[in-house]
Symmetry: C2
Subunit: 328 residues, 2 copies
């Protein structure tokens, strides 16, 4: 029997499987994009392995989250939608609501990047700035649902969201016949768990690794401890990766299918954003460059094998910040 947490999330929901990801792929077709997967020869030369980039930064809203959000929202009847987000989930929910003719409220942190807030509002959502951490804005979002009705869309602890993100992994298996590992940014674990389900089904020997900020490290300690570890005050320049804990469904999936997660510092992330722009001509946000930061920081890259896919998850970044990084 399913149990309910105080926040209304059904914690015993079934983790999505390959059938859910295939259904999601069909559902999001024409909305999310089959993003390019390219080799980056200059990075391959620099690291002595074949480096491939899966360019989720080339989605319509420049971040992978449209996959999960649209897959979820296309299946619900509710017309009033609420989300709590550091930005990218909010952009995705706002965009999907715009396409599906639903009304939308997004609670963002007071520290949200202005460009992300602008993008959320651009597609017609109401934006409420509140608190700093995920739990604060989730509480605010639940309060809105309690008082006004509607449905709260969780950014990662939801099987339909995870199945949607999993389509990214499915595409990788369709686009590249042989590869040894995939490195994925880790916030709440929705993307890495979806990708892991798809890839381990199609390519069981491929290794799946997370890239998480040292200031918001949750996945590796959780995998090592066998239980969800919560970070009290997560901080990172990668604002998309600062949730306090991996979700319960993602944790269950990652425990089975993810091979480990590497920590990367803010300095390493900034260096990766710059290298991605200079060497591969790709603009990314800090979260999106975290997998390259892993490669840059590794002492023994052979763990990753000879053909490595980096998931460049997004590019919603303040232009001011981008300029400051690139001109150095």
């Amino acid at each position: 029997m399913a149990s309910k947490r105080r926040d209304g999330l059904d914690t015993k929901q079934k983790a999505p499987g390959m059938a859910d990801i295939l259904a999601a792929q069909s559902r999001i077709s024409g909305v999310a994009v089959r993003t390019p997967l390219i080799e980056a020869p200059s990075l391959s030369r620099a690291f002595g392995v074949e480096v491939y980039l899966k360019l989720e930064c080339f989605q319509p809203i420049r971040v992978f989250k449209i996959r999960g959000a649209y897959n979820k929202l296309a299946q619900i009847r509710e017309r009033e939608v609420v989300a709590a987000s550091s930005g990218n989930h909010g952009i995705a929910v706002s965009y999907a609501c715009h396409l599906l003719d639903k009304s939308c409220t997004v609670v963002v942190p007071e520290t949200a990047v202005q460009e992300k807030v602008d993008a959320i509002e651009d597609f017609g959502a109401d934006v409420i700035r509140y608190g700093r951490y995920t739990n604060e804005r989730e509480a605010k979002a639940r309060q809105i649902v309690a008082s006004k009705g509607g449905i709260l869309i969780h950014p990662f602890d939801d099987p339909d969201i995870i199945a949607g993100q999993g389509t990214c992994g499915l595409e990788i298996t369709e686009q590249l016949s042989e590869f040894d590992s995939v490195v994925v940014p880790v916030g709440g674990g929705g993307l890495i768990s979806g990708i892991a389900v798809a890839i381990k089904e199609r390519r069981p020997t491929v290794k799946i690794f997370g890239a998480e900020p040292t200031g918001a490290r949750k996945l590796q300690p959780s995998l090592e401890g066998g239980r969800i570890v919560t970070v009290e005050n997560p901080t990172s320049i990668a604002d998309g990766l600062t949730s306090r804990a991996i979700g319960e469904i993602p944790f269950r999936i990652c425990s089975r299918l993810v091979d480990g997660a590497f920590g990367v510092s803010d300095t390493e992330i900034v260096s990766a954003v710059r290298n991605l722009a200079v060497k591969a001509h790709i603009i990314s946000e800090p979260s999106g460059a975290a997998p390259l930061a892993v490669l840059q920081g590794m002492k023994d890259i052979s763990i990753l094998g000879e053909r490595v896919v980096l998931v460049i998850s997004g590019a919603n970044v303040s232009l001011e910040w981008l300029i400051s990084v690139l001109k150095n």
Copy 2:
């Protein structure tokens, strides 16, 4: 009977039709990407019309030219390929040769953007810097073919190239049910003519307009004069749009199907690059932003109708230049 010009191009080749574009779509599937077409709400508000962006800057090589180059190269038997290019055609040919296991030489102008040259070399092509104008490097490329053999791939005056670029127009008709006009950057006319064939077949009432630099204005004078007009010393910050003349096949197509072309100054193009980044969060090269420059400069936007698609053709730009534009 087909006649041959001194440069070996078959000038009486048949212009491609819808069947060629549909065949190209199938041929390039999995290599070129079905790029996003999104509304840009902040631009829609600014101009009082619905503004949609077709993001060819999100192709694997960040420019539309992979469509035509791959469609051409996948059909030829020759293993040795030569191209003359200001950069983007060279990147596309180099990338397609890499995928198809052909060897490749690209002649670029002495003034080529270093990032574009790096990208050409990244995929394994030999690069030769020569001259400044299209005719100079075309002559050099023909000389290479004459002495070493192989096949010269023209950037636009080729039915297979045009059919490949036409898949961009076909996608627009599949992605958007109703629209009134499309604005396309004009260099040699390959992109606009391919798009025009696809769109006028599927949506005969939609208007197709070109965006061309005032310092390299060829299409509008050619349309008005009923013959190909050559610009002696084309200059523009939009290096992709500085060919001296529209191709013969593109001219024949444009004469039938294109509704006009607007001139934009370098100042207007730079302003458009900046606005696209600030208002729509899209990084583009000068050529790619030319259609937005048209909107910005129009006195009477009603000519374009209520739903306007701007083809943002590419984003291969020097980071140094980009920073200088964005930080102003």
